[in-house]
């Protein structure tokens, strides 16, 4: 088994793909250098990120594949699932080697796997579009803390940029320790190393604008008032709003609605 490592970036991965072809490396095990294990047998090749090489791989993929299929490879990359790189490499080799368009040949197990993982990542992206809750700070920044299963911030940025074009916002990934910040012009990646308990009442009072608490209370009240008790269906509720997202949802914080619903 020949190990090919890269620096963990998307460009780095594409460079690794290039070099697999360049040095005719076979029997590849491609992995992030930070997670690679030393192997007793076989050689280790490290691919130094090279923008030119990465671009060439991307261009040939774009020629060969639909835009969706290229995006699907990227989504697989963002999944950070261990070993996903090998599926991606095999998929790329398979589509480049075939004269026909085979990106939808689901009877090939790598094609199927790429499709399935990108579905998973896409679902997480969609859940972030839904479950992000901004809190307005005293200096008019709309701030949201998240902890997505996959590294989906690059995927959600365009949606939030188009939608909230007239407010400054910051979405911070608590687990991966970076965020995306929109300054009314562009979205940029920012890395800040801080950990605050965003739901802590004291922090809320110190950082957030006065009306923030009012609107959170109103939202909690709304959430409990639209519920129809006669139709209670906890299983369905949990299925749509899995517990792991509750931490950042004001409506799922313990609260007693002032006015009980019927």
């Amino acid at each position: 088994m020949n190990i090919v490592t890269y620096d963990g970036s998307w460009q780095g991965f594409l460079t690794a793909v290039f070099e697999i072809y360049e040095y005719k490396i076979t029997d590849v095990n491609c992995c992030n250098m930070h997670t690679a294990h030393a192997s007793l047998f076989g050689k280790i090749h490290h691919a130094h990120t090279n923008v030119v090489k990465a671009d060439r791989v991307l261009t040939s993929l774009q020629k060969k594949l639909s835009a969706t299929a290229v995006q699907n490879i990227y989504k697989n990359f963002l999944s950070e699932i261990s070993g996903v790189e090998n599926v991606m490499v095999r998929f790329i080799q398979y589509v480049l080697a075939n004269p026909q368009k085979v990106e939808n040949n689901f009877s090939n197990s790598d094609v199927l796997k790429i499709h399935q993982v990108s579905k998973k990542v896409h679902r997480e992206k969609h859940r972030m579009d839904a479950f992000i809750r901004f809190q307005r700070t005293k200096d008019d920044l709309y701030f949201a803390m998240v902890k997505p299963d996959f590294d989906v911030l690059p995927l959600i940025a365009p949606h939030f940029e188009k939608r909230y074009a007239d407010q400054r916002w910051l979405i911070y990934d608590e687990h991966r320790k970076y965020g995306i910040y929109y300054d009314l012009q562009n979205v940029n990646e920012v890395s800040i190393n801080f950990s605050i308990d965003v739901q802590n009442a004291a922090t809320v009072a110190a950082i957030y604008s006065e009306e923030e608490i009012l609107y959170q209370t109103l939202w909690q009240q709304y959430f409990s008032s639209v519920n129809i008790k006669a139709r209670k269906n906890t299983k369905l509720h949990i299925q749509h709003m899995p517990r792991r997202y509750w931490k950042f949802l004001p409506e799922k914080q313990p609260h007693v609605p002032k006015y009980a619903s019927k």
Binding site: Q167, A230, H237
Partner: protein
């Protein structure tokens, strides 16, 4: 803004609006303009209530004061409930502030009728206009048209809103007369026609002038209460089919009646909400809209009621066993779509995959297509099932696999004992 007062109003007016089941926020194509606020798209469900329904819009009444006395409605004038009313500005502020925090996709505004239909409708239109012009808000707005509102005001509503809806309320005119004596069906059908024609006209205009203003780009929808009156599924689905065919309706919603009144014209308080029936009606609705089924194939004078224990597609298949098994490698997409257990996504997957190589049962399972249900109805060269099954046997075999928590409620009509 008085925090306590506004919270109380929100509680009352959200509570009164929740029986309107429309929650859709998709189907519009309004984009963000001039770096303003919001856009529309495929629709996002931002939260789900504990009853499992999606929350995508701020759904509220402007007021629950009403001059009408419809027996099935919580806001009827004879009902002893606390009344409240928002000001136009309060609704605007709530919408904008909820939207900016990514709580909602937009606003669904409806109202009890005060003074008269036009007077009420004008206030609703004013809210939408303010949101669009003063706040540069491009999110989703759904306005409930008040029955009896004049054509001019409906026309203006469509200029600001993404979707307009008028509830037909009851499946038949007779039930409407019984339960909502103040309402006339013609007052609902007439505005539907107006909206339909304006939408068609607007589409033509936009073909010529790309910049012509949008008119209700997400179309119109309607809703009826089911289970409050003795109509059969046949009557309900034929009516819905008529709306889809003749009114270009985007959606018909079915709202299972939640008992809220001791009125002896209605099911008593404590009667379970007909959730299974509601679900079956939606399934039938989907079959009509996305699966190419004609309404007569789902319900007809011989089978006027939907089966409660199995879904309408399966029950159609069991009545038409001569059309099966369907060969997944040669059958047309339309026919694969009719196989119980195979939906739109999976039918498309099969069509794509079989271009490369013949699809086997093993492939199906790998692709994540469950064949628990489909296996009685498909073949891939050879049939999956070698034995000849009778429709009744298939039904029992499928029912034996799952268990429904609604089993006690599976009876379609109210039982006497």
């Amino acid at each position: 803004m008085n925090a306590d007062r506004i919270t109380e109003k929100l509680a009352i007016l959200a509570d009164a609006a929740k029986y309107d089941v429309s929650c859709s926020s998709s189907g519009s194509n309004r984009q963000n303009k001039n770096k303003g606020l919001g856009n529309t798209g495929n629709g996002i469900c931002h939260a789900y209530t504990e009853d499992g329904r999606c929350v995508s819009l701020l759904k509220i009444l402007l007021t629950n004061v009403c001059i009408f006395d419809c027996a099935y409605c919580v806001s009827r004038k004879s009902n002893d409930v606390k009344r409240a009313a928002f000001t136009v500005q309060e609704v605007v502020d709530l919408t904008i502030n909820f939207y900016r925090r990514n709580y909602i996709e937009g606003l669904f505004i409806s109202s009890g009728i005060f003074t008269n239909a036009d007077f009420t409708m004008e206030r609703l239109v004013l809210i939408a206009k303010k949101l669009r012009t003063e706040e540069n808000f491009n999110g989703y707005i759904h306005i409930k048209t008040i029955p009896g509102a004049s054509e001019d005001i409906i026309k203006e509503a469509g200029l600001w809103a993404d979707r307009l809806s008028i509830n037909v309320e009851m499946p038949t005119e007779k039930s409407l007369a019984l339960l909502a004596p103040d309402k006339k069906r013609i007052d609902m059908i007439a505005p539907m026609k107006v909206v339909k024609n304006l939408i068609i006209q607007n589409k033509e205009e936009r073909k010529i002038f790309k910049k012509a203003p949008l008119f209700a780009p997400a179309g119109q929808s309607t809703q009826m209460v089911i289970g409050a009156t003795p109509e059969t599924d046949l009557e309900i689905l034929y009516l819905a089919n008529g709306f889809y065919k003749t009114m270009n309706m985007r959606r018909v919603y079915y709202s299972g009646y939640v008992p809220i009144s001791n009125d002896n014209r209605l099911p008593a308080i404590g009667t379970p909400v007909p959730m299974v029936r509601e679900n079956r009606l939606y399934q039938a609705d989907w079959l009509m809209r996305f699966y190419g089924f004609k309404v007569q194939e789902i319900v007809n004078p011989l089978n006027p009621l939907l089966d409660m224990d199995i879904d309408p597609k399966l029950s159609w298949a069991l009545r038409n066993m001569h059309l099966f098994p369907v060969d997944i490698n040669t059958a047309a997409y339309e026919m694969i779509l009719r196989v119980p257990g195979i939906g739109v996504q999976n039918a498309k997957k099969i069509i794509t995959a079989r271009r490369f190589a013949a699809v086997t049962f093993g492939n199906l399972q790998k692709m994540g297509i469950s064949i628990n249900r489909a296996r009685y109805f498909i073949s891939a060269g050879t049939s999956f099932e070698t034995k000849d099954w009778l429709p009744q046997q298939i039904k029992h075999a499928i029912l034996a696999e799952g268990s429904s928590k609604y089993k006690p409620n599976l009876s379609p009509q109210m039982a006497l004992f």
